[in-house]
Amino acid sequence: MFAALGDPQRLTLVTRLCREGPLSIARLAEGADISRQAVTKHLHVLADAGVIRGTREGRENVFEIEPRRLKEARGHLERISAQWDAALVRLRKLVE
C-alpha cells in the first residue's frame, strides 16, 4: 500500500501490517530474511515517516499502519473513483 520509502524490506513489513493487522517486532522478525535488529531499524524509519505507529503492549512494541495514512490513501482513491463516475456519465451522454 505504501511504496513511498522505496526499500523492499520496508515494503514487506508494511505489506504484512496491512494484511495481518498490528504485529509485534518479534512476529515481524519471524517472517523476515534479515536480523531482528535490522527489522527494528526499518520499523523506526517507517514510524518516523508517519506510515506506521508503535505502541507498547505489555512487554512488547506493537506496530500498526498509521490510521491517518490509511484514511488519506482511501480518500485519494475515493476522489479518483468519483472522477471516474463523472467521466462515465459523460460517456453515457455521448453514446446513448
Binding site: 488519506e72 490513501a73 476522489r79 468519483a82 467521466a87 460517456l91
Partner: protein, 166 residues
C-alpha cells in the same frame, strides 16, 4: 508492482443503452474519447503508442466544462498498452493528472483497462484502473488536498445531472 489489495484498484461497470460498435468507437477513437473525457489528443490510439494531449473542456456538458476550465491546457500523456478490437483497450497514464503546474512525468503510471461485452441490445462497459499502491503517499495526500474542492463540485454536479435525467 502488482497487488491484490483493495487499495490498488478501482473498478466501474456500467450498462450503456447503445450498441457495442458505437461504444467501441467512443473509447477507441482518440477524437471521440477526447470529446467525452475532455482531452485533445495529438494522434490516434494504436498499440504501443505514446500520445500527448491537452486538457480541454468536455464537449458533452457545458456545466462540467466550466468546472474543468482551471485545468485547461494542462499537458496530458498516455501510453496505449494494447487493443483487442471491439473488446478491450488498455492505457497507462498518470491518474487524473490535471494540475497544469505539476510535472507528473516521474511518477508511476496506473493501468486503465476498458472492456466491452454485448448485453442484450446494449453494452456492458467495465473500467479497471490499477497500480495505485505504487504511488507515493506524499503525492497522494497533496493530490487529495488539491483536488478536494474541485472534485466535490464535480460530484455535486453529477448528482444534479442524474436527478435531472431521471
Amino acid at each position: 508492482m502488482p497487488s491484490d489489495s483493495v487499495t490498488d484498484r478501482i473498478q466501474k461497470s456500467i450498462l450503456l443503452r447503445a450498441p457495442l460498435p458505437r461504444v467501441w468507437r467512443a473509447i477507441s477513437d482518440a477524437r471521440e474519447f477526447g470529446t467525452w473525457f475532455g482531452v485533445a489528443f495529438d494522434g490516434p490510439f494504436a498499440p504501443g503508442a505514446r500520445l500527448t494531449g491537452k486538457i480541454v473542456p468536455t464537449k458533452v456538458d457545458p456545466e462540467v466544462a466550466e468546472l474543468q476550465a482551471p485545468h485547461e491546457g494542462a499537458k496530458f500523456e498516455i501510453f496505449v498498452d494494447r487493443i483487442e478490437p471491439e473488446r478491450l483497450i488498455a492505457f497507462r497514464w498518470h491518474p487524473f493528472a490535471v494540475d497544469p503546474k505539476v510535472d507528473y512525468s516521474a511518477e508511476p503510471t496506473t493501468l486503465v483497462v476498458f472492456e466491452l461485452e454485448k448485453l442484450g441490445e446494449g453494452t456492458r462497459l467495465t473500467v479497471t484502473e490499477s497500480g495505485f499502491d505504487a504511488i507515493p503517499i506524499a503525492r497522494r495526500a497533496d493530490a487529495f488536498k488539491a483536488n478536494e474542492g474541485g472534485w466535490a463540485h464535480q460530484t455535486r454536479l453529477v448528482e444534479k445531472y442524474l436527478s435531472r435525467a431521471a
